[in-house]
């Protein structure tokens, strides 16, 4: 299990190209758990967390481009959060301060757990994953990138280098259920984006399927029901239907953490509350608060 720490992206990609079993590591919050448990990668471990090309974030026209090695703590940065509040909300729910200082958005994508906290937000934001290899770069929508539980569209020699988020005038919420009030893997989560430019609602759900799911029928219903011309408000009487449609779109399982029926109930309730906060006047006490 050799370890290499390249000093730039080109070197890193070269290792990934020449060694078919090479595995990238950034914060190590997933990979080190496996290594500590004796599940050792057979190939070279390539440190990518400090690659300058993967660090930082920038505006590129109407897009926000986040380096893959941005940590959860950095995602909660107030300037970044103002453009992308749901991502900052999700980042705050990850693990502990120790985990947030190390774990990265690129790692969340590469691991592709059905419970990955940033993933429903990225899906609801119609984000794009940028992958690089010695053969060049390509972009793929997050939805297409997340193929299944812990399976992605990335080729073996490709590295997640950035996430591109199209910014729009939108209201956003991320809600996550866990059994304890801190440090929990999501039992169910919902990311809601009310896109005022596109006049469309996007609802993504985590931990209720093999990967992040969109609630298309619920999105259509909500998008139609919202009065976009008058403050993008929603009649609260529409919320129960919305919740039922979201619950119907979930494909949860029973496991030792929770039950399918509870998870299904959760996403319905979470989506209802998200839209209530974002589109039912007066705004609920919690909407948009920094705390």
């Amino acid at each position: 299990m050799p370890v290499v720490v390249p000093s730039n992206l080109r070197e890193a990609l070269a290792v990934l190209a020449t060694e078919p079993d090479a595995v990238p590591i950034a914060g190590g919050t997933d990979l080190m758990v496996a290594i500590n448990a004796g599940r050792h990668p057979v190939g070279t471990v390539v440190g990518v967390g400090a690659l300058p090309e993967l660090r930082g974030w920038r505006r590129d026209g109407d897009d926000l481009v986040l380096g893959a090695a941005l940590t959860y703590r950095e995602l909660a940065d107030p300037v970044l959060a103002s453009g992308c509040p749901a991502l900052a909300q999700a980042a705050r729910t990850v693990g502990s301060p120790q985990i947030r200082n190390a774990g990265t958005i690129g790692g969340n994508l590469a691991t592709a757990s059905p419970a990955g906290d940033a993933l429903p937000v990225l899906v609801a934001l119609d984000a794009t994953v940028e992958l690089a290899s010695t053969r060049g770069t390509r972009a793929v929508s997050v939805t297409d990138y997340l193929v299944g539980p812990k399976r992605t569209d990335a080729e073996r020699d490709e590295l997640v280098v950035a996430v591109r988020i199209p910014l729009s005038d939108s209201r956003q919420e991320f809600l996550k259920v866990g059994t304890r009030n801190a440090m929990v893997i999501a039992v169910a989560s919902v990311a809601a984006v009310v896109d005022l430019d596109a006049r469309h609602v996007r609802l993504a759900m985590g931990s209720v399927g093999p990967t992040v799911l969109r609630a298309h029928d619920a999105e259509a219903f909500a998008s139609d029901a919202i009065d976009w011309d008058r403050g993008a408000q929603l009649d609260p009487a529409a919320l129960p239907t919305l919740g039922a449609l979201v619950a119907d779109a979930a494909r949860p399982i029973d496991d030792h953490r929770s039950t399918a029926s509870y998870r299904r109930r959760c996403v319905g309730v979470l989506a209802t509350r998200a839209l209530r906060r974002l589109c039912v006047a007066p705004p609920a006490a919690g909407a948009g608060l920094a705390a």
Partner: protein
């Protein structure tokens, strides 16, 4: 096998023959003679192994030792200066925040980091900052009091009474 140098608490340590997959926690404890950081889960779920790497609080069990060569590591052993406990360490002692002590080094590191970044956190901010450190003995009450004590002392509202050195034979 791999060889590298770690900079811990300001000192350079050569690590000539570590197995590649060893975590920073393992190397600190088993190779560098710095057992202050504790292994209570090796999954990043308990915070007992917390250290600072380049000033950032992380779980050392999740850090590949070879990956932090030439970075600055601070452990609990680095908080004592000239034989004097840091004010955070002293507050833990004074407030009764130590029972079995297994979680203590990790908590001390987390509190040290918190108060270095925010001098006047309120109760919920303190709790959120400490949520990654599990303690099974104290129920956290006296730990929170240790944080409040440190804040008061830094503000000058309180002074610590020096404790006489314990008698030894």
């Amino acid at each position: 096998m791999t060889a590298f140098t770690l900079r811990v608490n300001g000192d350079e340590h050569a690590v000539p023959d570590a197995w590649d997959g060893e975590s920073l926690l393992y190397v600190l404890r088993e190779r560098l003679g710095l057992p202050g950081a504790k292994n209570a889960c090796e999954q990043g779920e308990c915070g007992s192994c917390s250290v600072l790497v380049d000033g950032a609080l992380v779980c050392s069990c999740l850090v590949l030792a070879a990956g932090v060569a030439d970075h600055d590591v601070t452990t609990v052993e680095g908080l004592v200066v000239d034989g004097v406990l840091s004010d955070v360490q002293q507050a833990f002692v004074d407030a009764g925040a130590v029972q079995c002590g297994f979680c203590t080094p990790g908590l001390v590191m987390t509190v040290t980091d918190l108060l270095a970044r925010d001098g006047e956190p309120d109760d919920l901010e303190v709790r959120e900052a400490l949520a990654g450190n599990l303690c099974r003995c104290t129920g956290y009450g006296r730990v929170l009091e240790a944080v409040r004590t440190t804040i008061r002392r830094r503000r000058g509202d309180e002074v610590a009474v020096p404790v006489p050195a314990p008698v030894t034979r």
